[in-house]
Symmetry: C2
Subunit: 354 residues, 2 copies
Amino acid sequence: MEQVLSENNLVISVDAMGGDNSPRIVVEGINLAHKNNPDIHFLLFGDEEKISADFKRFPQMKNYCKIIHTPEFVRNEDKPSQVIRNKNTSMYMAIDAVRRGEAEAVISAGNTGALMAISKMLLKTIQRIHRPAICTNIPHKSGMCVMLDLGANTECSAVNLAEFAIIGNILARHTLEIERPRIALLNIGAEEMKGREEIHQAAKMIKSTHLDLNFIGYIEPHQIGEGYADVIVSDGFTGNIALKTMEGTAKLISGLLKGTIKKSIWAKIGLPFLLPVIFTLKKRMDPRKYNGAMFVGLNGLSVKSHGGTDSLGFSYAIDNASKLVRQHFVQTIRDEVEHVDLDELSQDILYDVY
Amino acid sequence: MEQVLSENNLVISVDAMGGDNSPRIVVEGINLAHKNNPDIHFLLFGDEEKISADFKRFPQMKNYCKIIHTPEFVRNEDKPSQVIRNKNTSMYMAIDAVRRGEAEAVISAGNTGALMAISKMLLKTIQRIHRPAICTNIPHKSGMCVMLDLGANTECSAVNLAEFAIIGNILARHTLEIERPRIALLNIGAEEMKGREEIHQAAKMIKSTHLDLNFIGYIEPHQIGEGYADVIVSDGFTGNIALKTMEGTAKLISGLLKGTIKKSIWAKIGLPFLLPVIFTLKKRMDPRKYNGAMFVGLNGLSVKSHGGTDSLGFSYAIDNASKLVRQHFVQTIRDEVEHVDLDELSQDILYDVY
């Protein structure tokens, strides 16, 4: 393995102890993901004995995986302020492998706040990028789009939003394979003066960058599902509100549907005919497919898998991260921001106003 | 009619020229609403000839309606800055009737921005209330809840949010007939320090008012559908984002469902059995039932009906407004805020911090 690693720099570091059924789900997930990603190698951090026990079912895994024993792991109830001081946890060491340049990305199904805090502390934001963002892919009518920020920053300046547009553009190109992603700012109206001041300024800034032609202006939340945009940019508070509202509405509708069907004898007779439809829809909306919230803008990619996901869900998170690692996502951001001085642009736009 | 009006002060003023099929829809809507609200009288502002023509089908309407001719009306494309200067439109005159004390509420299906601007200018905010808010009732798993602000204020202070909580509490009592509404602030997490500073401060302020026992803390968007709260308070930007995300997600799911059913011969066979379920759900989620966005916090109630609604939808907007008028909603707000000095509370909370 040592040798393989040095020949091939496509390495993902994994916190094997995060999530509800670790390390079993993690090991199974890596095994599944390997089929689509034979070029990716993995560093697994955690309890060596437990991981090795799970490895027994997949003996070929030792060809592309290396286990690094860690004496401790982060618990769900641990506070970020505590975990950043403990260098012996599987999460800390997995992230540190990215800092040391041994891996390009880290994945964990553990404590979200801890992952964000340690990642931010160890990896630091890319030069010229002011704030990292959380993003994920979400489904729309005819495909998927990238949405960011989903909660890393409760308040954002115009510069932050413009940076998210640059990062989101690269994400859509790399993960959704869209050559020229349509970028939009999430807002409460399409007219130029609707919404908050920082959104208006961000629009002006994005128009002054290389993204000018990709930028389609403002998108209202009810248009996301229509597939009007490939990259949806907002501050973390608004993005989190929108994402959780989507979740809640989907749950409300499916709950009402189930409840009403239960009460109708006719519906129960007709239901078996609709099973193929339900199956297709379930497959289309399967949350495991969208598993993996990415923490982007740092010197290394940090991916949070859902804590309760199964091995298939974990493998999707790896798939997504692999696409980015393979295309050297972090270096692409560095290259693109090198030619855009958003702080200067921001000054120009401010002078424009007064 | 003149005599009736002076005996009975439950009067609603109506802009008969607003919306897609006015004044026909408006006249039919009033006729429908009268059945549930025989105690309410109406002042109809608009083209007398057209309104009278529609009245011919309902001759009894002249017993509880009075037509006031206006030479002009507000168009959908008119800018708020223009319409506030034209005193001859049906919308302006209908709102002015509330200012003059001839009616307690005004309803229009016309230009939203114009209705807000004229209402704000003529009715002015209630003393001690700093900002008006837009609110509506939305469905959850087992009933309905009040949500505000939905777009009147893109940014809000803690004082504004606390005021919305006071108004929302009255709205839930009067329109949903909930004796002790559970009030929550919309936020991105349940923990005390999650989200924005003004939300934390608003929570402290609400706890210091008479609403202390009704206040249940923060609600996350995916919990709205669960029916955790009866009053959901947010700034207008966030509320608008949440409302439009609900709309969009519902549309996305029903679109995907229809699209998938179309492609399946089995589903087409089973579908007729599910018609009662679809009918029940449609009835439950019927947007006409939630018609009527209320502009509250002013000296008079201003209600915006959806421009494309039908007569039943318009009658629901009247129903809702009638409940508030019958219980003298505006006076109730005045009485409640008289005993709460939010500005002073706000100072106390600021001193607490430093």
